[in-house]
Symmetry: D2
Subunit: 277 residues, 4 copies
C-alpha cells in the first residue's frame, strides 16, 4: 500500500453527530434495529437502548437485499413515525441512503447519512454526499482495500464535506463459520494512518448474536471511536438480520462490560445529552 496516498496524522477530524463528538476522547454507541419495521418496534428499541446508554439510533428505511424478493424496507411510509420516535426519545437517527435521490427525502430526519458496504464504490452517490452539510458514515466495502476505503472517503471530502466517519463492518474471506471477518487490523491501521474517526459494526462483522458483544469489547480495546450495533426487542421476529440482533437485555449486559473496558483504556462513554434534537 502506498502510505503516501493516505493522511498519516492520527485521527484529528472530530465529527459531531446529534450532539456527540465522534473521534474525540469519548466513545459513541449507535444502536437500533436493522430495519425500522413499525412505530411500536422502533419506539421500544429506542427507549430500551437509550436506557442502557446508547447515544444515537440506527435503523434502515430502504434495505439493500441480495434477493429482489426479500423485504426492501418501509420507505417513505415510515417517515412520520420515525420523526415521532426521535422526538419522544430525544435521540437522532443515522440511516442509509442507497440512491442519490433519497438524500433530499430524509435530509431532515437524520443527523448522519450512512453509506452501506455495497455502495462504497458508488461514486455517484459519494459525490452527492460530498455536497451535503451533514456527516456521512462510510462503511467499508466488504472486499475493499483499506486504501480504496480511504479514497472513497476522499470522494466525499473533495466535494467540501469533511465530516466522514469510517466504519469497519467485516470483510469477505474464505471463512464461512462467521458471516464476515471483522478486520480488526484495519481499525488499528485506519486510526493510526488517517485523520478520520473509525467505528466498528460488530453485528455485520460476525453475524452471530452470541459473539457480537465479544467483538464490541475488542473494538473498544483496539482504539475505535465507537460502535454501531443491531438491537431488536424480539430478534426471532425481525424482518431482516434477526440472527445477529441483540435483545434489549443482551445490549444492557454488553454496555456494562463495555463501560469497564472503556474506563481501562481512558476512552469513556459519552454522557447523555439534555437536548439532542
Amino acid at each position: 500500500m502506498e502510505m503516501q496516498t493516505m493522511q498519516t496524522s492520527p485521527s484529528t477530524q472530530i465529527v459531531n453527530v446529534g450532539g456527540f463528538d465522534i473521534g474525540g476522547p469519548q466513545f459513541t454507541v449507535i444502536a437500533g434495529p436493522c430495519s425500522i419495521e413499525s412505530y411500536d418496534q422502533f419506539l421500544e428499541t429506542a427507549k430500551g437502548v437509550k436506557a442502557s446508554g446508547a447515544h444515537i439510533l440506527r435503523g434502515g428505511i430502504w434495505k439493500m437485499r441480495t434477493s429482489s424478493k426479500a423485504f426492501q424496507g418501509l420507505g417513505s411510509s415510515s417517515f412520520d413515525f420515525i420523526k415521532a420516535v426521535c422526538k419522544e426519545t430525544n435521540m437522532t437517527l443515522i440511516s442509509e441512503v442507497t440512491d442519490a435521490r433519497q438524500i433530499e427525502e430524509i435530509y431532515d430526519m437524520v443527523s448522519c447519512f450512512q453509506v452501506g458496504s455495497r455502495n462504497m464504490h458508488n461514486y455517484s452517490l459519494l459525490k452527492e454526499l460530498g455536497m451535503q452539510k451533514k456527516p456521512v458514515m462510510l462503511k467499508r466495502g466488504f472486499a475493499a482495500l483499506i486504501e480504496e476505503w480511504v479514497k472513497a472517503a476522499e470522494y466525499i471530502t473533495a466535494g467540501g464535506n469533511p465530516n466522514v466517519i469510517l466504519c469497519e463492518r467485516g470483510i469477505r474471506t474464505f471463512e464461512t463459520a462467521t458471516r464476515n471477518t471483522l478486520d480488526i487490523n484495519a481499525v488499528a491501521f485506519a486510526k493510526r494512518n488517517t485523520h478520520l474517526p473509525v467505528i466498528v459494526d460488530p453485528s455485520h462483522a460476525v453475524g452471530i448474536r452470541a459473539l457480537v458483544p465479544d467483538l464490541a469489547y475488542a473494538a473498544a480495546a483496539v482504539g475505535a471511536d465507537g460502535i454501531i450495533v443491531e438491537v431488536h426487542p424480539r430478534p426471532a421476529e425481525a424482518l431482516s438480520d434477526g440472527m445477529q440482533a441483540l435483545t434489549l437485555n443482551d445490549f444492557k449486559v454488553m454496555m456494562n462490560k463495555l463501560e469497564r473496558i472503556l474506563t481501562a483504556v481512558d476512552k469513556p462513554l459519552h454522557k447523555e445529552l439534555v437536548y439532542a434534537n
Copy 2:
C-alpha cells in the same frame, strides 16, 4: 450454494445486441478502448478491431475510478463523435452506466448497457435497467458470490427486461501477481446452471497485456458465449488501464488463434453483419 435458487437449465436466453445473437451457436467478440478519449482514438480502434473480426464496440464514457483525482471519462462532450464513429464503422456500442440518471442520456447511443463490477450491488440502478427495452451486460462484482451475481440479474429480469448477459471479469483473491483472478470455474458453472449467456472479460481479469490472449483462449474453450477485450492503438498513451490493453496487432494475432479454437469446439465466430445500426 442453494442450487434450487438458480435456474438449472442450460443457457437458453439468447440476447441480441446490435444484430448479433449472444448465447446461441456463435461466439461474439466485443472490443474497444477502456475509455473513449477522442474521435481519432476511438475511430482508429474501431476500424482496427473490426478489420480483425470484432462484432461490437466497447468504450467507457463515465469511468469508475478508485481515486477522485483520476480521469473520470469525457462524459457528454463525447456523444457526437461517438455516434459518428459507430455510423462510420457500421458498429454498435456497449457502454457502462454508473448512475440511473445516465440511462436516458445514452439510450440512443448504445445497443447494450453495461453494469460495472463495482455497481453489481447497486440495486437502484439494476431496477431502473429492468424497466428498459435494451439488453444489459452485468459484470460480476469482484467479490460477489455466483449466487449473488445471479440474484442481481434477477433484479433486472424481475422488472421485465429478460435480456441480461452475465460477464465474468475476475474476482479479488489473495494473489497479487495478477490484477484479479479470472474465475473460470464460474464461467463453466454459470453456463451449466443458469439460462443466461455468459461472456468473459480477460483484460480486467488478469490486467497484464501479455496474458490477455491466453485467457481469451481459455474462455473460448471453457464454453463462454463471447469475450469483451480492451484494445488501444497506443496503450502507453491510454488515459486508463493501459497496462492491460492489447495493441491492434496483438488483437489481430489473438483473433487468428481464437478462431482455430472456436472451430475445434464448434462455436464459430459470428460473421460480419451488413447492417448493424
Copy 3:
C-alpha cells in the same frame, strides 16, 4: 510480485516422466483414482484411461484428510498389486508422499513424486525431494502466492534435482459454489515467467464432476503442458473425492474434445509408448 525473483524465460525445463516429456511440444494426460482402493479398482481404471489415451497413472497411497477419522489410504499393503497393475498396463505411476520417510518406501514404484497442496510449505519434505533422482510434481498450496510456489520449487532445485513440474490445482477464495477456484491466470503467468512445466488438476480445482472436462479444455487452451485428472469406474463407491471423479466414459468423451482443442493450439497429445517401464 518481484518479478526479478522468478526466472523470466519461457518454459525450457523438460521433465521426463515414465518416457513422456512434460514441458515440450506435446501434451500429457495423467489419470487415475483419487485413492488406490483395490487391485480390481486400480486395474480397471488403469486399463480404461489408457484405452482413451492417458499416458501416466495417478493414485493415492497415503491420503491427506482433514479429519483423522476419514479413510487414510491403503499404505504399504497395496504395494504389490500396484506394481502388478503398472506392469500389466505398461504404465508408470505418480503418487503423493506426505512424509519424508515415505520417499524410500515407494521409490521403485513411482516415476514421479507428488507433493500435495497441503505440503507445499513443508520445506523438510521439499529438501529431501531435492536430493532424489526422480522428478517431483509440486502442487500449489491452496493459499500460496505464485511467488511462494516458485520459491518452494527452488527448495527442490537448490538441492540438485532440476526436474520439477508445477501443478495448479485451485486456490481457496470466498466462492463456495465450487470446491476451489482454478487460478487459470496463474497457469498463464507461470508458463510465461518461469522455466518449469505447468500442469493443471481440474478435478480438485472445481470439485464438481460435470465441470471437470470444461476446465480441462480451458487448461489445454491457456497453454498448460498437461492435466492430472481423477477417474473412477464407479464414482459413487469411491472412498474419497467421488463427487469430482470422472467415469471411464466421461473421460473418453473428454479426451475426444481435448484432442481437437490441442490440435488447434499445436500442442498434440503424446503418442503411446511401446515400453514405459
Copy 4:
C-alpha cells in the same frame, strides 16, 4: 460449518505449560524473539520480557522460510545456550518443530511444542505430537477454516495427547496493508465452541510493530487465554521478522495497558512462579 462436528462446550481443557495454566482464570503472556540468534540476544530478551511480566519464552530454532536462501535458524548449535538462558531466567521455552524428527531432539528443552501455520495440515507431524507427553500449541493455518483447525487439533488429541492450545495468528485475505488479517471472530468463535484454550499471536497477525499492542489489547478484550508476542532488543538487527518485533520498552508499555484491560475483564495476568523449571 457443521457445528455438530465441533465440541460445543465452552473452554474447559486447561493446559499447563511450565507451571502456568492456560485456559483457566488467568491470562498468559509468551514472549521472545522470532529466531534465537545468540546467547546474548536471547538472554537479554528473556530478562527484559520477564521483568515486564512475561511468563513463558518463545524463540525459533528451525525457521520456516519462504525462500531457501533466507536464514533457516541456528538449529542444534544453539541447544546448550538455550538451556542456559532458561535456567538463568527460571523460564521455560515454547518452540516450533518443523519435522517429526526434531521432536526428540528438543524434547528436554521445551515445555510446549509449537506447530507453525504452514504445518497445520502436516498430519504426519500432528500424529507424532499426539503421542508425546508435552503440550502442543497449534497455530491456525493461514488459510485454514476454523473447522479444519479444530480437526487438525483432533489429529493430536486422537493420539492420546489432550493438551492442545489453539493459536490464531492471522489469515490470508485480499488486504495487503497489513501482513495478515487477525481473525478476531475466530478467537471468539473458538472460545465459545470448542473446549480448548485459545491464544493470539498479534505479531504475525498484523506484521507492523506500531499496531501489535493495539491487537494484543483486542485479544485480551475478546476473551483470549493469552498472547504470544515477538520481542527483540534491537529489531532493526533481527535476522527475521524485525518489522513486527516489539522493543523491550514497547513490550513494557504494552504490558501496563494490557494489565488494566485484563483487570476490567476479570482475567488477570498470572503471577510470577517461584520455580518454573
